[in-house]
Amino acid sequence: MAPIFTESADRLLRVVIAALLLLAAGAAGLASWIFHPRQTEVGYTPVQPVPYSHKLHAGDLGMDCRYCHTSVETAAMAAVPSTETCMNCHQRVRSESLALAPVRESYATGKPIPWVRVHRLPDFVFFNHSAHLAAGVSCVSCHGRADQMIEVKAVEPLNMAWCLDCHRNPAARIRPREYVTRLGWRPDRDPLELGRGLVAANNIAPPVNCSGCHR
């Protein structure tokens, strides 16, 4: 009499079981990889209404970050400059440039320039620029070499785990306060040992408890 299954059925069964297991594992891994900020955030380079080049201004012309981002040392937000700030120079420099038309228009009409946000934190996170600068964390730690970017691009995931890395061992990212806006700055000795010194000297103790960032 005929049995229900042949040996091929067994082979099929094994294949199916193996496939299911692989699929489950794979899906989980893939999802967690795809939706990690390293994928979703880093590399975001929106097109700005004005083709403003940080490379030109901060890099080649060597303007200090704080010329435009005035409140970075005193406030939580590193203010995006008002059109006036641009016009301080551009009333004379390149006053006819086509690229600057939106700036001139904004200056004339008083309508703000709709810059597109690049670095963004969830709004239950209360990041304070002044606190970080005061501690000696350079712009470069979070924004990368903006002075080499023609278009500003997100270079760090800015997720909690990433923040904690630095909050747990600040020494690696601390530098003397006067150099925080010198993106290219390299210490003359071992940066880690320098950092340790500064951390000890200014007793820098970044919070790792919740209310340090969430209020």
Binding site: M1, P3, I4, F5, E7, S8, A9, D10, L13
Partner: protein, 182 residues
């Protein structure tokens, strides 16, 4: 099983566990070594009659249990005291007391997996196709049939002789089980 031989073995069906047991003992006396019995429920003494040793599953399960416990303690200690130490309710970062429940649960969980997994592995299950499934006799095993099989691997094996011997031991029906080419 053994490749060329087209015969898997000779089987005889008995109508009660007792007669099966008796037959098994007799055949063992005859010096048959490669036998197996098929019953609707476990029959006392068969293992001995067929010369089967005690199942080693216990050790596997014990090991798995220990692993579970270790894993649990490691998890709770590392996450709480090493990876992200947070002061919670004035309690220590890691303490044996509050680790007990989860440690126990993981112990049981892994041990149980080992017990079931081990059993299936030891029995070579799942295995959907098997020569005996093509035999009429075996249809009744999961109902009320008690079947004794002398495998062709047995050095003393001789299909005809085995059938007679089984019949003589009170098998109501006997049959030669064929290997089926895949």
């Amino acid at each position: 099983m053994n490749g060329p031989g087209r015969i898997h073995g000779a089987a005889g069906q008995f109508d009660s566990p007792e007669s099966l047991l008796a037959a098994a003992r007799a055949l063992a006396g005859d010096g048959y070594t490669r036998m197996d019995a098929f019953t609707p429920f476990p029959v006392h003494g068969l293992d001995k009659a067929l010369g089967l040793s005690r199942s080693p599953l216990g050790y596997v399960v014990f090991g798995a249990g220990l692993a579970g416990a270790a894993l649990a303690l490691l998890l709770q200690w590392w996450t709480g005291a090493v990876d992200y130490p947070l002061v919670i309710g004035g309690k220590p970062l890691f303490a044996f007391e509050f680790s007990i429940p989860i440690t126990f649960e993981l112990t049981v969980l892994l041990a149980s997996f080992a017990a079931v997994g081990g059993m299936l592995a030891a029995n070579g299950l799942p295995r959907l196709s098997h020569p005996v499934f093509s035999s009429e006799l075996f249809r009744r095993v999961t109902d009320d049939g008690f079947v004794l099989l002398i495998e062709s691997r047995d050095p003393k094996f001789d299909a005809a002789a085995c059938r007679e011997r089984l019949a003589s031991l009170g098998a109501v029906r006997t049959e030669v089980v064929e290997e089926r080419a895949a």
